[in-house]
Symmetry: C2
Subunit: 251 residues, 2 copies
C-alpha cells in the first residue's frame, strides 16, 4: 500500500499555499508572518531554495522560492503570479438564518472550498439569537482562511451577520439569479442561456425554517424556490447542498 500523503509530503514542495498579508508583498518579494514562517520552516523543514506558494486573499497566488529566513521571518522571491486561481467565474453570496455556533462553523468550513464569496449569518425570526459578535466573526475568518488555503482558492470571502433578513437582503446588492431553499420549488437550477458572470444569491432558513413573512420578503426580492428533496435538512446541510447544486448547475 502506498504511504499516506501525510508522511511523505514533508520532504516535498508544500502543496498548500501559505497565507501572506497583502501589505507584505512588494514587486518581487514577500514576507510571511511569524506563524506562517514557522509552519514553512519547522513543519515542512524548508531550506533556502525550496519552492512554495502564497495566497493573499485578494485573488493572487504567488509562486515563490524561499530566499532567506531572518529572525523567524521567511522571505520569498516571487517567480510568477496567478490571478483568480481556483475561483469560479461568478460570485456566490449566501444568506443563512443563524443556526447554532457549531453549524455556523461547519458552513464556513465547507462552503468556502465550494466557492462562496460572501456569507451573511442573518438573524431570523426562528434563529433565537443576536447577530454574531466581532470575536465570533474573527474566529470564522480564521476558519475561512484555513479553508481557502486548503482549497487553493485565492479570494477570501466576506463574512458578516445582519440584524435581520430584510437588512441582509437590502445589503446583498445586485444579483443575476436568486434562489431560496424551499420545498415548494422545483429540484433543478436551469442555467440561463448566457452564462452567469456576476452574482448568484442563495438563501437558507435557520433551524425551524423561515417564517411566512420572511419567505414573502425573499419572494418580493425575486428569490426563486428550489426544493432540496423529500427529507428534512439541517440549516448547514441545506446550505452546502444548495451551494453545491448552484455552482455546478451554473458553471
Amino acid at each position: 500500500m502506498a504511504a499516506s500523503g501525510g508522511t511523505t509530503r514533508d520532504a516535498r514542495r508544500p502543496d498548500t499555499p501559505f497565507w501572506v498579508d497583502p501589505e507584505a508583498v512588494s514587486d518581487d518579494r514577500l514576507l510571511l508572518d511569524p506563524d506562517e514562517s514557522r509552519h514553512l520552516i519547522r513543519v515542512h523543514r524548508a531550506a533556502v531554495g525550496v519552492e512554495f506558494d502564497a495566497v493573499d486573499g485578494l485573488g493572487h497566488l504567488y509562486h515563490c522560492v524561499l530566499d532567506s529566513v531572518e529572525r523567524g521571518v521567511a522571505t520569498g522571491r516571487i517567480e510568477s503570479r496567478d490571478v483568480n486561481s481556483g475561483e469560479l467565474p461568478f460570485e456566490i453570496r449566501l444568506l443563512i438564518g443563524i443556526p447554532d455556533l457549531g453549524p455556523v462553523e461547519t458552513v464556513v468550513e465547507h462552503a468556502v472550498p465550494l466557492g462562496v464569496t460572501m456569507i451573511d449569518f442573518a438573524v431570523c425570526a426562528r434563529s433565537g439569537r443576536e447577530p454574531l459578535a466581532a470575536n465570533r466573526l474573527d474566529r470564522l475568518h480564521r476558519i475561512a482562511r484555513a479553508s481557502l488555503k486548503q482549497s487553493r482558492r485565492t479570494r477570501l470571502p466576506e463574512l458578516k451577520s445582519s440584524p435581520s433578513l430584510e437588512a441582509a437582503v437590502a445589503a446583498l446588492g445586485a444579483a443575476e439569479m436568486r434562489f431560496v431553499a424551499d420545498a415548494g420549488g422545483p429540484p433543478r437550477i436551469e442555467p440561463p442561456p448566457s452564462r452567469i458572470q456576476s452574482v448568484v444569491a442563495l438563501a437558507v432558513g435557520p433551524p425551524g425554517g423561515f417564517i411566512d413573512w420572511e419567505l414573502g420578503v425573499l419572494r418580493g426580492a425575486e428569490f426563486r424556490p428550489i426544493s432540496l428533496g423529500p427529507s428534512r435538512l439541517t440549516t448547514e446541510t441545506a446550505a452546502l447542498a444548495l451551494t453545491a447544486l448552484a455552482r455546478n448547475s451554473l458553471l
Copy 2:
C-alpha cells in the same frame, strides 16, 4: 423576537421521530426501547395520550399515541403508518476512499439526510488505512440513525468498508448511472429521458485522490467523470457536493 424552537418545542408534539426496533412492532402496538422511552417521557415530558412518530429504518413511519409507560418502556398505539416517507425515488450508493475518522463521520452525518442508501468507505491506494473496524462501523450506525430521525427519512442506509476499490465496485451491484468526482469531466449531471428509478452510484477519492489505476478501474466500470469546479475539495466536502448535485439533478 420569537423564541427559538428548542425552548418551546418541549411542550408540543415531538417533531422528530423516535427509533423503534422492527421486532418491537406488532399490528397495532409498538414498544420503544428504554433509551427512546426515556427521551420521550423525560425530555419531551410526554404523558399518556400524547402523539408521537416512530421510524424502524426499514421504510416505515408510524404515527402513534402514547398508550402506557411501564417499567420505563413506552408503548404506542399505532394510528397509521407511511411507507418510504422522506425517501428519494431512487437509491444513491456512495463509494468513498477512506479519509480520516473525523471526515468519515462528517460524511455520514450529512450524506444520510441527503438520501444516500449505502456508503462504502473503501481502502484506496492513498487512504493509508485498513478497512474500518466493526466498533467504528457501530459508531457510524449510531450517527446514521440519529441523522435518519432528524431528517425524517425512514430507510437506514447500509454502511460498510471494503478492503479495496475493486472490491467496492464489485460489490456495488447494478446501477443505472455511475459518476466519479474528477476534474476532467463536465460540471453538470444531465437527467436521462426517463427518470432514474433504481440506483445511482457515486465515487469520491480519498485525500490525495484516486491513483490513475483506480480511475481506470472506475472508468472500466462505467463511472463518468463529473468536475466539482476549480478549487480543491476535501474528500468529505466533495462527497457531499456530488451527492447534493446528483440527487437534485436526477429528481
